[in-house]
């Protein structure tokens, strides 16, 4: 039951967290009394040096980004199967190697598909 459990092992973490918050907050708060405050237009720009932003950064991304993101997600996540495979590789031996080759082979077909369809071409 949740009520019966005292998370005593995590007390140190909690104390650390509280101290961290207090320390950070205090530093900023005390700093207010000692620091100089002389703002002028140049200081208030986003970057003190370099170009001012030319337009709002909140414009819709090109659909191409989504395409790449989708491909990335699919191929990236398939890699999770490699971890358990690597863990038991020693026990399974060549069988595991064959299995994984088949798996990677299947992924390869997907890759070739994406390639041939032009999903990897940026300037289309």
């Amino acid at each position: 039951m949740p009520g019966n459990y005292l998370p005593s092992e995590y007390t140190a973490v909690l104390v650390m967290l509280i101290f961290g918050l207090i320390f950070g907050g205090m530093t900023l708060w005390i700093g207010r009394f000692f620091r100089l405050r002389r703002p002028y237009a140049e200081k208030l720009t986003a970057y003190e040096s370099g170009n001012p932003p030319s337009k709002s950064p909140r414009f819709p991304f090109s659909v191409k980004f989504y395409l790449v993101a989708i491909l990335f997600v699919v191929f990236d996540v398939e890699a999770i199967f490699l971890y358990p495979w690597a863990v038991v590789y020693d026990d399974l031996g060549s069988f595991a190697l064959i299995e994984m080759t088949i798996f990677i082979g299947l992924l390869l077909v997907g890759y070739i598909y994406a390639w041939k369809k032009g999903a990897l071409k940026w300037d289309r």
């Binding site: 038991v88 077909v109 598909y113």
Partner: protein
């Protein structure tokens, strides 16, 4: 890992149909990429592969196995039967697609490979003896079908259908998984047979949390078979999808989902029948009522058939309700019959299709008996069968379902089902009325194609044949059962 040797020693030969179809799917992708102009061989490749798959299934019918991959994958007559239904569905769909894709100018090689992958998903699903495998099969099927529904990329109705289907499907997957995780939490296993054992061992039959978990699994599958009150995605998805895919969705995934539902309830949770029985009875009643009554007001025939498909899911649930070998074999029989009659009806719709989505509205059927007497006669047969008028197969299918539910003591439900079945005559026969009683506005002849003709012949033979000689399928179905519900 002490289970490793088992995996290595698992013979792959019994899996030949599945492996063949996986290779076929990959082959279709690659062929499409590299052949370019010779794409018209794709449907033939797909059909050939599916036929070979059917042949291999028949070949392997003698070698059943209780547990491949450490008991996760069962090959029994039950799964075999549903696999045959699914592959017949795929074969029909391929035959229907050739003409449709031509008229819609939709030349995408992915189409056939996705279809084949959906078939593999269904085969995995019906053979699953473990929730993990079940989930994987289900998702392989569902993901492929989401894509297929949305494959008319420039048609906003197809997009919308895909989106709705996807959202509802993914939502129901989430519910299913949470249910599975709760069941796993309580029984400590995902193996259906073991779950059933643990339920008795741990005395969980009256556990409230377990009801909730089982309820979630039931809700998820109600979504998948489009049973009310979780049916709302179906009409939109069916209407917007490419027509052959609509036909496929109402046959393949539905049959596979019923197979899984039967296996879960009868093999995993037989002890809880007192609890899920009334629930299924309620869902079945509501589904039949919703499907049949809402179908009356439809003017789009694809949408009408969507509601009809909902209604038929309600009828099929009666078989699960019966919790007997009789009931399950009635479902199997019904699903096979439904595949033939529904595919037949969709074949006619596709026959009438031109670029302007002709054949989808009820008024497109005016005077069809004059312009195309043969097509009208065939549609008449399919509509009669869907209504359940003898001597068509639809009657046999419904008869055995009602009989099974009756013998199990659900008399009230069966009476309601019979009344609603009579209601359904109204909208099915309205199509017939349009074809025979009205004059055609413009006498447009329809173009035939060899594959469509083949599909129609195949469907008519099925509908009439199973109607006149129903015994052997039922026999086969009931023989396959002892393995399931001991």
């Amino acid at each position: 890992m002490d289970t490793a040797p088992n995996f290595i020693l698992t013979p792959l030969a019994p899996l030949a149909p599945e492996l063949l179809l996986i290779c076929l799917g990959l082959l279709l992708v690659v062929v499409d990429l590299f052949l370019g102009e010779k794409r018209h061989i794709l449907p033939w490749l797909a059909a050939l592969g599916t036929l070979t798959g059917l042949f291999l299934l028949g070949n392997g019918s003698g070698h059943f196995s209780d547990g491949l991959f450490g008991g996760m994958y069962i090959l029994d007559a039950y799964s075999l039967f549903f696999k045959v239904i699914c592959l017949i569905g795929v074969l029909f769909t391929v035959m229907l697609s050739v003409r449709y894709l031509d008229t819609e100018k939709m030349h995408q090689g992915e189409y056939y490979s996705l279809l084949v992958f959906a078939a593999v998903g269904m085969m995995v699903m019906v053979s699953a003896a473990d929730m993990i495998v079940l989930y994987l099969g289900l998702e392989l099927m569902a993901l492929s079908v989401y894509c297929l529904v949305g494959l008319l990329k420039s048609d906003s109705r197809s997009n919308e259908a895909a989106l709705k289907y996807f959202l509802m499907g993914a939502f129901s997957s989430g519910i299913l998984l949470y249910g599975i995780s709760l069941i796993y939490g309580m029984t400590g296993t995902t193996d259906l047979q073991l779950i059933s054992q643990r339920l008795t061992e741990l005395n969980l039959a009256d556990n409230t949390l377990l009801f909730i978990a089982l309820g979630m699994v039931l809700i998820a599958f109600s979504f998948k078979v489009a049973a009310a009150p979780f049916h709302m995605w179906a009409p939109d998805a069916y209407e917007g999808a490419p027509t052959p895919i609509t036909a496929f969705m109402s046959v393949g995934p539905k049959a596979a989902s019923f197979a899984v539902l039967g296996r879960i309830l009868l093999s995993g949770f037989p002890e809880l029948h007192v609890h899920w029985g009334p629930l299924i009875a309620g869902i079945a009643l509501l589904t039949m009522a919703t499907g049949n009554i809402l179908a009356i007001s439809q003017t789009n025939i694809k949408r009408m058939l969507a509601y009809s498909s909902i209604a038929h899911a309600g009828f099929a649930l009666l078989g699960i309700l019966a919790t007997s070998n009789e009931g399950v074999s009635a479902i199997m029989n019904y699903m096979l019959i439904y595949a033939f009659m529904n595919m037949g009806a969709f074949a006619i719709i596709i026959m009438l299709n031109n670029r302007e989505r002709r054949g989808e509205q009820l008024k497109d059927y005016r005077g069809l008996a004059q312009t195309n007497p043969v097509a009208a006669a065939l549609m008449l047969i399919f509509m009669f069968s869907l209504t359940g008028i003898p001597p068509t197969a639809g009657f046999i299918g419904k008869f055995y379902l009602f009989l099974a539910a009756m013998n199990a003591g659900y008399t009230g439900t069966v009476i309601a089902a019979v009344i609603l079945s009579a209601v359904s005559a109204y909208y099915y026969l309205r199509v017939v009325r349009y074809m025979y009683m009205y004059d055609s506005e413009k006498g447009e002849a329809v173009a035939m194609s060899p594959s469509l003709t083949a599909a129609l012949i195949f469907a008519v033979i099925g509908v009439i044949g199973l109607g006149v000689a129903p015994g052997w399928v039922l026999e086969m179905a009931s023989q396959s059962l002892p393995a399931l519900a001991q």
